[in-house]
């Protein structure tokens, strides 16, 4: 009997291999016609991958197909051989063939993982087993391969529906908890978010997988029942009762969950680490405050995009947190006291990077949008909120046509806040606008400019210029650094450039970042730090932050396993600070599970929060 089964498996494999070669031949003919090797390789790989998935289906469907087709089932069951031996004699060669094919796939994918691997090995093995198990249960009912494939297709659709229902449970849970969904724009991004939503509490994952495993249990039970294996009779009885219960309760549970879903704007979550070492987490319309000792929840705060603006005197300022209005609110994490700091009017928007807190006062820059992208927005007003003064103090500073780039600075000598801007209309005049509205023109710059520690740096096409204020308060040019500088600003950074103590990172698209040393002054290309091994992707993948000492800390991720590598820029070279194992790979997942501000980083790992404080990434365990 084993010999018969081996022959059957060998015959199937030859048929499968024939069609695989046929695919390769067709691809080769296409190559001869198109003379495009890349397309040939791509099509060959696609064909191979498809047929690799066809193989387990063929193996599974063939399990009892001979007996069904040739009416040999009674003869088989009347043999002086136990059912288990019959089943094993059939399964063993098929499982061996499947294992060999998976080993071949794994070996090829290891050789060239970048180009060949369309699925990671473990999920690929699971997919193969799923297809095999579904197919083998169908083999009991069909005696023709073609009809079996049709039946398999239907079975797969049913299974996909069950899997979708299982994911729906997890997905809906994730929605209510506000755990996922930032870029749900395409089916692919939805799938990616669904997969990432599996970082859920264990009970949700177990419930979801239980639903997905139901077809497996059903398949095994069907085979065992057909073969009349004694040990499965009682299991079958309980399974029937359980299935009935599940069939009644599961749709109700799914309906209840769907009805409980409230529409949410997908603005994304945030995890904000405050100066007091508390972590603010947004979950749907709730603000959850984590400390090592407790978890507090503030409810009913609306469904809005939230951007933490910063904290001071124990308060945290959040952008657009209310349900119906667009407000800036400040929240006291310890008491959960909430105040509206500023309520936006139509066409008003918050200037990015405009939060500044000093001497119990918070300063925001509010813009009024002109509605035309070709025009720069006009700067409308500034807002100051006094601690203890619940009436927001709104003061219109100036109305100007200004460039997008605006940076709030603080003049330590004058002890006044200002923001830097560049006027297009005057050929690129860099000016600083003081808090009282007065405008001080500084210099002309061809590109952008930034301010730090009493120094001003402007960038043009030919050079970067360094200016300083002298004892009389006049701006003096101290140095000119030749070079073509075209700094870009990383999307996730709220600051145009990353500040360091006397040193700054200038990101330039397509090349390594530059270290601008204001003390020297000099511009030095920055060597890649630990873990930074993708220079060409450095810009788009850069996550550069500033710690509480105003030092830039640059993070990247190692390929395997998912790891955050923190490095600090000192003397224009990177010094390794530490590594955090995050358990996920890929920038998208990193972005979804990692948050940073000046006090440290917050990492979400398998549904739990971990906070790491600057400068040494000391870990805080949170509730």
């Amino acid at each position: 009997m084993k010999q018969k089964e081996r022959r059957s498996v060998a015959k199937l494999t030859l048929i499968w291999a024939f069609f695989l070669l046929l695919t390769a031949l067709i691809s080769f003919v296409d190559l001869l016609i198109s003379r495009n090797l890349g397309a040939f390789t791509e099509r060959l790989l696609i064909g191979t991958q498809v047929f690799i998935l066809v193989y387990p289906v063929m193996l599974g469907l063939s399990l009892f197909m001979d007996e069904q087709k040739q009416k040999g089932m009674e003869y088989l069951l009347s043999l002086p051989v136990s059912r288990q031996r019959i089943l094993w004699a059939k399964l063993a060669p098929r499982l061996a063939a499947l294992a060999i094919s998976l080993l071949v796939y794994a070996s090829i994918s290891l050789v060239d993982p970048g180009s060949f691997q369309f699925m990671a090995p473990l999920p690929f093995i699971l997919v193969n087993l799923v297809l095999f198990i579904i197919a083998l249960s169908l083999s009991l009912w069909f005696d023709r391969l073609l009809i079996s494939f049709l039946g398999f297709g239907i079975g797969l659709l049913v299974y996909a529906g069950l899997a979708a229902a299982a994911f729906l449970v997890a997905f809906q849970y994730a929605l209510t908890q506000g755990l996922v969904i930032q870029y749900v724009k395409t089916p692919r991004s939805l799938l990616e978010n669904l997969v990432s939503s599996l970082e859920l509490p264990p009970w949700v994952t177990v419930a979801s997988f239980t639903i997905m495993l139901a077809p497996f249990a059903g398949a095994f039970w069907a085979v065992a029942r057909r073969l009349d294996i004694r040990s499965c009779r009682m299991a079958g009885l309980y399974l029937r009762r359980f299935s009935l219960t599940l069939a009644v309760t599961l749709p109700l549970a799914v309906i209840l969950m769907v009805l409980n879903i409230r529409p949410q704007r997908f603005g994304g979550n945030f995890f904000y680490l405050t100066a007091d070492r508390q972590v603010l987490e947004r979950k749907g319309d709730r603000l959850v405050i984590h400390t090592p000792e407790s978890v507090r929840i503030m409810k009913g705060l609306g469904h809005a995009q939230t951007i933490p603006l910063g904290d001071g005197d124990g308060w945290v300022y959040l952008d657009r947190w209310s349900a119906d209005e667009e407000d800036i609110v400040r929240v006291q994490p310890r008491t959960l006291k909430l105040e509206v700091a500023y309520r936006f009017r139509s066409q008003e928007t918050l200037t990015q990077g405009s939060f500044f807190y000093l001497d119990d006062q918070a300063l925001f820059l509010i813009e009024e949008k002109s509605g035309r992208q070709s025009e720069a927005n006009s700067l409308k007003a500034s807002v100051a909120v006094s601690a203890g003064n619940r009436v927001p103090l709104v003061r219109k500073i100036r109305e100007e046509k200004v460039a997008f780039q605006r940076l709030i600075g603080f003049d330590e000598w004058q002890r006044r806040r200002f923001w830097l801007s560049r006027r297009y209309s005057d050929g690129g005049i860099v000016q600083r606008i003081w808090e009282d509205g007065t405008v001080e023109k500084l210099t002309r710059a061809g590109g952008s400019a930034f301010y730090h520690g009493g120094k001003l740096v402007t960038f043009g096409d030919m050079a970067a210029s360094l200016y300083e204020w002298d004892e009389t308060g006049a701006l003096q040019k101290r140095a000119e650094i030749p070079g073509r500088f075209n700094p870009r600003f990383p999307r996730r950074s709220r600051l145009p450039l990353q500040k360091g103590v006397g040193q700054f990172l200038i990101f330039q698209e397509g090349s390594n970042p530059l270290c601008l040393d204001l003390i020297q002054p000099a511009v030095t290309p920055v060597s890649l730090g630990p873990g930074m091994d993708r220079a060409r992707d450095l810009f788009s993948q850069a996550l550069v932050y500033i710690d509480d000492q105003s030092r830039p800390v640059y993070m990247t991720v190692a390929d395997q396993p998912g790891e955050l590598v923190f490095s600090r820029l000192e003397d224009c070279t990177w010094q390794l600070v530490g590594r955090i194992a995050i358990g996920v790979t890929g920038w998208k997942k990193i972005h979804d599970n990692f948050w940073n501000n000046s006090h440290g980083v917050v990492v979400r790992k398998r549904g739990r929060l971990h906070a790491f404080l600057y400068p040494d990434l000391r870990q805080i365990t949170l509730k």
Binding site: M1, K4, D66, E67, K69, Q70, K71, G72, M73, E74, Y75, L77, S78, L79, P80, V81, D228, R230, R233
Partner: protein, 283 residues
């Protein structure tokens, strides 16, 4: 007392909600030939399938003699199940290997001119029956179970089968359990008759005893009587009454009771199953 080679204890099988076998307990001694009869759908084939191991009972058990070698249990199902895409020779060889036989004698196949290169699928039902008989006889069966294959066969092959069965019983002392609807052909074989109704054996008698206990009486008019009527058949001219269980005292009422052949007896039982008259069967 002959050795019991096979017995069942409270055997029960259900297909869904339908109870097909209801607590059957019966014993089969070595060398006995048993005819299992009953109307369609009473569970005869299911009973044999349970004995052969094709179906597992929901309740009860099948107990074989301690020294029973499973390879010496022969079963020919009414479906004549085999791998039809094989050739006859390949089928014989497969059976030889599966049952670990020294060889499979082919005299029966030769007598009906079945070529080893023929596909089993191409054999007629009668030829296939001979093929299956060849297979099971090669096992030198201690117990042989045959389910309704004779009606597939022509007169010649039918005779071949019966001869082979008789020879097997005589030479090996095989216990034969046979389901059959054409009783005339197998009249010579069974020593015992089991009649099944609604999943139970309602009659379990030796053939000779059965022939003593079932009689027929024919009347020209409708007969009102207290006798246990098993079955009644009416035509335009006369009425036939089959009496069971018959006792000699019944002759005292003057009626002329006739002896019956086994086929007639079985027809009466089966007919009575369809048309219960006066006294229900099994009481």
């Amino acid at each position: 007392m002959k050795k019991i080679v096979l017995e069942t204890a409270d055997l029960a099988v259900a297909f869904g909600k339908k109870q097909v076998l209801q607590g059957i307990s019966v014993q089969f001694p070595a060398g006995e030939s048993v005819l299992i009869a009953g109307k369609n759908g009473t569970g005869k084939s299911t009973f044999l399938r349970v004995l052969a191991g094709v179906i597992r009972p929901d309740r009860g058990k099948v107990v074989w003699a301690d020294d029973m070698d499973r390879r010496r249990i022969g079963f020919i199902s009414d479906s004549l199940s085999c791998f039809e895409d094989m050739t006859v020779s390949a089928g014989l060889d497969l059976h030889r290997r599966l049952y670990e036989l020294d060889g499979v004698p082919r005299p029966l196949l030769d007598r009906v001119h079945i070529d080893g290169k023929q596909k089993i699928r191409s054999l007629s039902l009668g030829e296939r029956a001979i093929f299956h008989l060849t297979l099971v006889l090669a096992q030198k069966p201690v117990v042989l179970m045959i389910d309704e294959i004779i009606h597939h066969m022509d007169a010649y092959t039918r005779e071949l089968l019966i001869e082979a069965l008789i020879e097997t019983v005589d030479s090996l002392g095989t216990t034969v359990l046979m389901i059959n609807h054409t009783f005339h052909d197998v009249e010579r074989i069974p020593e015992r008759v089991l009649l099944m109704k609604d999943g139970r054996f309602v009659v379990d008698e030796k053939t000779e005893s059965l022939q003593q206990r079932v009689k027929k009486v024919t009347m020209e008019t409708d007969w009102s009587t207290d006798l246990p009527i098993l079955f009644q058949r009416d035509s335009g001219y006369f009425h036939e009454y089959y009496v069971y269980p018959f006792t000699e005292e019944m002759r005292q009422n003057g009626s002329a009771f006739q002896d019956l052949t086994l086929p007639e007896i079985l027809k009466a039982f089966i007919g009575g199953s369809y048309e219960a008259k006066r006294t229900p069967l099994g009481r």
